[in-house]
């Protein structure tokens, strides 16, 4: 752990640094056509996270989830698993919710509302409510604020975010082949992740030769839609010491931090700057570290561009140099600061941000579930050979940053470290 950088301290309570931990992570398989309800998937994922932590149903007394009218409630999951909760709430939200709910969980435990909080996201994002917006949603009547977007064929996330992506290319000379490098890196990572939905390695040419969906997005600039549930468990560091895995401590959290004029109409510029610009002013001081201290990142890669924009605005490179940063090897396994080592939303599966937190937790435990052999201690014996089908554990990883995204105007983030 690098020394805290006192010169960037903020006024938020520093005593919360390292006081909370992620003790359990779990997921279902990533499929297109789960054949199960979101209630079943959610129970599966929360149970996996509970077992991963070495906890019993009676140990968990808080539950949070996020959804957009496309999922089940914590009341069903907790009931099905025989938990009695002291606090539960299902919130409205997609991307950027995971880190925000970790912040809420910390607040709940601090407030004495409950002690151990399970957070889940369960979705049939391919077979029920298509995350790309096709199907029933695309034909629904257009009313209210939608008259200023959907009436213009401006509906899907890619269509909505495109003005920011295009303007970044215009403002800074960012090139399609630079941004395509994000897909290349994440696909290489996914090829070493037995769980990933897409394990095929892609090249820059593959991305640029795939068909245009809406400029500047090719098909391979866009993430996969999948069916899955994911879950994490948050509790105090004190309780975490009794759990099964090495400590993964939470250094600082930013939840749903906005640009001015939170709207999807881009009234406040520069539109090539995203909410990470504001979030970083909370994240780094609260965590007591800066971007140079981070070993691995987990960006919200709904699109290749969202990864580039976040890494840039959180300060991993100079403003405008995101294209160069993502295309010169830094974000690949074996590079200076690997990003989305599971393959992320582009390749592993789409879970509105939670799978990148799960992955970084496993990385910080030095226990990424790759294809390396399992040793006598029950843990993977990592080879750090990143060739296709091989290792994806980052060597000596100590500090991670997760960068959540709902849209260009909204960011959440979290720094974790190995305890």
């Amino acid at each position: 752990m690098p020394l805290p950088r006192q010169e960037v301290d903020a006024t938020t309570p520093k005593y919360l640094r390292d006081k909370y931990a992620i003790v359990g992570v779990g997921e279902t398989t990533y499929t297109r056509g789960s054949g199960r309800t979101t209630r079943a998937l959610g129970s599966w994922a929360v149970r996996n996270a509970m077992l991963d932590a070495g906890l019993k149903p009676s140990d968990i007394d808080g539950m949070l989830s996020y959804q957009g009218g496309d999922s089940t409630s914590g009341t069903f999951i907790s009931g099905d698993l025989g938990m009695r909760l002291n606090f539960y709430m299902d919130v409205f939200g997609g991307g950027s919710s995971t880190e925000a709910l970790v912040g809420i969980a910390i607040g709940l435990i601090e407030a004495g509302c409950c002690k151990v909080v399970a957070i889940f996201r369960s979705m049939n994002g391919y077979s029920q409510v298509r995350i790309g917006g096709t199907g029933a949603r695309s034909a629904a009547p257009v009313t209210g604020d939608m008259l200023h977007n959907r009436a213009y064929g401006w509906q899907s996330a890619g269509q909505n975010f495109a003005p920011t992506f295009m303007r970044h290319m215009y403002d800074y000379g960012t090139k399609p082949e630079q941004v395509a490098a994000v897909k290349v890196a994440h696909s290489h990572h996914a090829s070493n992740n037995p769980k990933a939905y897409y394990k095929k390695r892609f090249t820059i040419e593959d991305v640029l030769n795939s068909r245009i969906i809406c400029k500047p997005l090719h098909l391979l600039d866009c993430c996969v839609e999948t069916d899955n549930a994911t879950a994490i468990i948050v509790t105090s560091a004190e309780r975490a010491r009794d759990c099964k895995h090495p400590l993964v401590l939470i250094r600082g959290v930013v939840g749903r931090c906005n640009k001015p004029r939170l709207d999807m109409h881009y009234q406040h510029g520069p539109i090539s700057t995203v909410a990470g610009y504001y979030a970083r002013q909370i994240l780094w001081p609260n965590a007591g570290v800066g971007p140079e201290d981070i070993d691995i990142t987990g960006s919200y890669d709904a699109f290749t561009f969202t990864t580039m924009l976040q890494l840039e605005d959180y300060g991993f490179c100079k403003k405008g140099e995101g294209g160069e940063y993502v295309s010169t090897g830094a974000i690949q396994l074996g590079g200076r600061r690997p990003n989305n080592t599971s393959g992320g939303h582009l390749c592993e599966g789409y879970t509105h941000g939670m799978n990148m937190v799960i992955e970084n937790t496993r990385q910080l435990r030095h226990d990424a579930d790759d294809s390396c052999p399992i040793g006598a201690d029950g843990k993977r014996q990592h080879t750090y050979d990143y060739r296709e089908g091989g290792c994806r554990q980052v060597k000596n990883v100590e500090v991670s940053a997760n960068l959540g995204w709902a849209n260009p105007s909204t960011a959440s983030s979290m720094v974790m470290r190995r305890g």
């Binding site: 695309s138 959907r150 509906q155 400029k215 500047p216």
Partner: protein, 173 residues
Amino acid sequence: MAIRGEYLGMTLTVDDLDIENLEYFRHCAEHDFHLQACAQCGRLRYPPTTACPWCAALESTWRSVEGKGTVHSYSEVHHAIQPAFRGHTPYLILLVDLDTQKGEPTPDEALRVIGNLCTPDGKLAPADQVRRVGIGTRVRMVFSDVAAGLALPQWTIDATTPQPANVWRYPQE
């Protein structure tokens, strides 16, 4: 009173409680673009809202605004998500800086009004026009009529003014 109309096979409705949008689209139906001007600070705002985003005042008046501007950014859609647009690809979604109030109250702000690239009669523009437009193109507002009290503000290439020598387009056609 609520408004309902069909546009490209989509049903568009303005609820009778949605007072700001009813007023906004009523002016559009008259082909006379109006925005709310804050009664307290005087600034115009887009899209319609109940309160002023700069001073939070609730009172506003509707003011006629010139429909001229410059393309700030855009997307060119080749794979339509909504069935209504499938027969119209490629189509352009334009984010246009109005000349009015551009750079106020800070240099990076503008009234950025969304619209499709259309022909002057308010129909979605054909592919040869789509290929001529990029960041920097000068455009003027036209309207797509939907129903009594409802028209959508749209953009067309402004033939009445000189265009910049080069507009910026995505490098891959």
